[in-house]
Amino acid sequence: MALVVSGLGYGHPGGRTLYRDASFRVEAGSVVGVTGPSGSGKSTLGALLAGDLRARSGEITVDGAPLPRRGFRPVQLIHQHPERAVNHKWRMRSVLRESHAVPRRTLDLLGIRSEWLDRWPAELSGGELQRFCIARALHPATRYLVADEMTAMFDAITQAQIWHALSGIVRERGLGMVVISHEPALLDRLCDERIAVERLR
């Protein structure tokens, strides 16, 4: 049971090649950190894992099966900017319901208050919105999470709260997680293993 990347190749259309033959695996239940300087292709890797971008060569398999082209994707990406990942014309209740009926307990663990459900995205702070994005990604069918600079925008206390809640849930469900960040301290605390993007070239 693992998210396996083998022989991955990708370059932006008309741009330089980012990956030629990248291979690594993320075991279910483990946390893998991805580091690298700005512009080195960390977010692109996240988008490839989540299926938002298509690899030029190589393949990505989830627990033995290739990434599905249609329908629900078992690898869910959590973006850096929650305000862009939420349609501003939707109330928060609908934002959650687009994924699934999120159980009360998950909301409590993530610190989402019930009165926030009836608000518009503009009426919540970035940290509050990001909790919704996390809850949304925790679909029952989700097997792996990719957190792309998920808390880079927040203050230390919010960061700590969000990571504390999320790692608890991830451990409990036995999910695998890829943490993309350029904060060594954060990765030291969270990850079982670390990959430098440069090494994947």
């Binding site: 299926g51 938002d52 629900f72 994707r73 862009r84 939707w90 687009e98």
Partner: protein
């Protein structure tokens, strides 16, 4: 020492453009609503008897009994104008709705359903723009057989292109948004994304398109009818009134052409101004008002 405040900085005499636009919307909306209510009320209250040949004085100039005068059959021109405007309004709503719907569906599909669909829609747009639209419209109306369906389809199917292009461009910007990627990752279908994510975001654009389409439809309906491809001559349509009244303008019976013309002008200008102002309020970036 404190200098006295510059009065120009605090003057309320020149409101900011957007505020002024909001006020203009209210004004032009009230004019249009008043006009529409009058026309509908008139249509319901006025008696059809005045449209049949009757004992009323023939070709009498405007007066107390017949505010817009009568024609050579003794028909009351005021009644005919009101009935004509009511018909124009109905046609306007129907046609603008159809053409806006066509623009929305084709524009959204072109931008969301991949390169092949986009190619087909773009080709269709180029083709439709390429044909001179008055000729295209006459052909369509003629093929359907004139009357209400001919006019509605003829105008609706020749006027969806520019709005479709606008919608397509808008959706192309929206489709890369992160919340749409998320939605796709959650297994949502293109139809769901179009309906729930994209449509609410292009709705203002569609609303403006609908209102701006309206005066166009009314003018074209009058033009088609005037040229003889629209309504049959006994229908009290504005175009019929105008084409009947035109020959009499030089023979002294000016009221037969002037009153229908003025009524048409008022309705069209009202809607055109309303659409323009609504765009300024909803979408200040693309309007230059």
């Amino acid at each position: 020492m404190n200098a006295p405040p510059d009065p120009r900085l605090h003057s309320r005499s020149r409101p900011r453009p957007r505020l002024r636009a909001r006020r203009d919307v209210v004004v032009s909306l009230s004019v249009v609503v008043l006009l529409v209510v009058c026309v509908i009320a008139g249509h319901l209250l006025l008696d059809d008897a005045a449209l049949r040949p009757n004992s009323a004085p023939r070709s009498s100039p405007p007066g107390v009994e017949h505010p817009f005068g009568t024609d050579h059959l003794g028909q009351d021109l005021f009644t005919r104008v009101v009935k004509g405007l009511a018909l124009s309004l109905g046609i306007g709503v129907l046609t603008a709705a159809i053409s806006t719907a066509v623009s929305a569906v084709l524009g959204i599909c072109a931008a969301l359903l991949g390169r092949r669909v986009d190619g087909v829609v773009s080709w269709l747009i180029d083709l439709s723009i390429g044909i001179p639209h008055l000729i295209f419209m006459i052909l369509l109306a003629f093929t359907v057989g004139g009357g209400v369906p001919g006019i509605v389809l003829g105008i609706a199917l020749t006027h969806w292109m520019s709005l479709a292009l606008l919608v397509r461009a808008d959706v192309k910007q929206i489709r890369g948004a992160e919340f749409i990627l998320v939605s796709r990752g959650l297994g949502r279908s293109p139809l769901f994304i179009a309906r729930r994510h994209v449509l609410p975001l292009v709705l203002p654009q569609l609303l403006v398109g609908f209102v701006l389409m309206f005066p166009h439809v009314i003018l074209h309906e009058a033009a088609l009818t005037f040229l003889g491809f629209g309504f049959s001559p006994q229908t009290p349509a504005i175009g019929i009134l105008l084409s009947e009244g035109m020959p009499h303008i030089s023979s002294g019976m000016w009221w037969l052409a002037v009153f229908p013309g003025l009524a048409l002008l008022l309705l069209v200008l009202g809607f055109a101004r309303l659409g323009d102002r609504v765009r300024t309020v909803l979408d200040p970036a693309t309007s230059n008002g």
